[in-house]
């Protein structure tokens, strides 16, 4: 009950506060539109906005899928060998420290317009959290369990599949939850820098025509997409890691 009711109540209160502020302070919708303005804008062209949402969401999902698959594979390879891990960790940390958002204009130069540079940006921003979390998880199996595996003469593969990987799952999901909002941010940055379609492009266009309520409608849709993705990951987590949080 409270798992649904409390989050819903929080959302309702937030919207109410937003409404109250715009009404009480007589804020010009040009600066901060009220929730009613935003909803009205949405209902003027619902098909258009939902279509653009779908465009952005597709880029996010494709990029996220690539980042997660690649991130898991890279993390497993790195965690397989202490030597490889030590060698590549500083490089990974360095690449991770580069603000990927700053690469957006470069990607435009390299890949032109269209879906590709946006998807690549999604991959770039969401890849590292997955790698770092997975590696941390894979190297976190407690000493006793490693000793147990060794005493049973388990092979590397048996130890990996039966102990290390399941042990890493809760941390892998932490990485995935960090990566989901980043994936959306990546797609939107890509669309803002080289607008074609998608909600980022809608935001860029709305500022050109001073249509603040439209920008807000796009932002709200992005936020909703973010929430949906986050809860989707959390739902998969509950299925995959039923023992987590209970110990």
């Amino acid at each position: 009950m409270s798992r649904v009711a409390l989050p819903a109540l929080g959302a309702v209160l937030t919207v109410a506060l937003w409404w109250l502020l715009t009404a009480a302070l007589h804020i010009d919708p040009f600066y901060l539109p009220s929730p009613a303005d935003v909803v009205e804008t949405f209902w003027r062209t619902p098909g258009f906005l939902l279509g653009e949402t779908w465009v952005t969401l597709q880029r996010v999902l494709i990029g996220f899928a690539v980042a997660v698959t690649g991130g898991l594979v890279v993390a497993v390879v790195l965690a397989a060998s202490r030597t490889v891990e030590r060698m590549t960790m500083p490089v990974l940390a360095a690449v991770n420290a580069v603000p990927k958002v700053a690469l957006a204009p470069l990607l435009l130069v390299w890949m032109g317009f269209g879906d590709t540079p946006k998807i690549v940006l999604v991959v770039l921003v969401s890849f590292f959290p997955v790698v770092v979390a997975t590696m941390a998880g894979l190297t976190s199996a407690p000493a006793d369990l490693r000793k147990l595996a060794r005493s049973l003469k388990a092979s590397w593969w048996q130890t990996f599949v039966k102990v290390r990987l399941p042990w890493a799952l809760p941390q892998i999901f932490v990485g995935l939850k960090v990566a989901t909002p980043l994936a959306i941010i990546g797609a939107v940055i890509g669309e803002v820098v080289s607008p074609d379609r998608g909600l980022g492009s809608v935001i860029t266009g709305s500022s050109a025509s001073s249509d603040t309520p439209l920008a807000f409608a796009a932002l709200v849709l992005l936020a909703l997409a973010g929430v949906a993705l986050f809860y989707a990951v959390a739902a998969v987590e509950r299925l995959a890691v039923p023992w987590a949080g209970a110990a």
């Binding site: 006793d144 369990l145 005493s151 049973l152 388990a154 102990v163 023992w243």
Partner: protein
């Protein structure tokens, strides 16, 4: 039979953990290793388990030198070390899976062991749904599943509360009588040593050397409560106390 011949262990540092240990554990015998913290008793156990190679001397089980872990040696640690995503039964069956044997005989064996330790009703539970004492019972069943000839236990009850400890010690004694497995049991509790052991091996402070081997000739089953052998228990405890202080 476990034969420890002139074994010494020096860790990088150098830290001399064990010096000149010679010891024989007979088949079916229950031996406890006792000593103060850091005296190398766990090191000696790890050497017997083949998890460490001795710097000096040799260790053999049934005449074969121990150079790596053996599948006929079971291990129980201070922590249960269960896989949190596996049911009690699946945890107990882990060794069979790793040995690549999925026969129904192991399932029967697991059911028997769980029955003996009073866990039958909890077969399908996950470890976190069990108390600490029950988790350690599961770890014991797991170690016993492949019918090991030797069971090595490293302070297995020291993370448990006093009452659970006594309960498990009595239960272990019963299992030992039933199964006849050779057991080497590390502890720092005199009470536990006297209750469980045929012989108590007392180690000196670092580097651990053999201080003395105390024979405990109290009839089994022994218990912590009032029984017919209070004087013998008191005498053995006092003797160990003197040797350790």
């Amino acid at each position: 039979m476990i034969t420890v011949s002139a074994v010494g262990q020096t860790f990088p540092g150098p830290v001399e953990a064990l010096a000149d240990i010679t010891l024989r554990v007979d088949d079916g015998e229950f031996v406890t290793l006792i000593g103060r913290s850091g005296c190398g008793k766990s090191t000696l156990l790890n050497l017997m388990a083949g998890l460490l190679r001795p710097t000096r001397g040799t260790i053999a089980i049934d005449g074969t030198p121990v150079t790596e872990p053996r599948r006929d040696v079971g291990l129980v640690f201070q922590q249960p070390a269960l896989l949190p995503w596996r049911s009690v039964e699946a945890n107990v069956l882990l060794p069979a899976e790793i040995f690549g044997r999925r026969g129904s005989s192991y399932r029967t064996r697991a059911a028997e062991l769980l029955e003996m330790t009073g866990l039958s009703a909890f077969r399908q539970k996950l470890p976190h749904e069990l108390s600490g004492g029950m988790q350690q019972r599961v770890a014991l069943c797991r170690a016993l599943l492949p019918r090991p000839s030797v069971l090595l236990m490293d302070e297995p009850f020291s993370a448990l509360d006093a009452l659970t400890r006594e309960e498990l010690a009595v239960e272990l004694q019963r299992l030992h009588l039933d199964l006849g497995t050779t057991i080497v049991f590390v502890t720092h509790s005199i009470q536990e040593a006297v209750l469980l052991a045929d012989r108590v091996v007392v180690l000196t402070d670092r580097p651990g050397r053999l201080r003395e081997i105390v024979q405990v000739d109290i009839p089994r089953p022994r218990s912590f409560g009032y029984n017919a052998h209070l004087d013998e228990v008191a005498a053995a405890s006092a003797r160990l106390h003197d040797l350790l202080h």
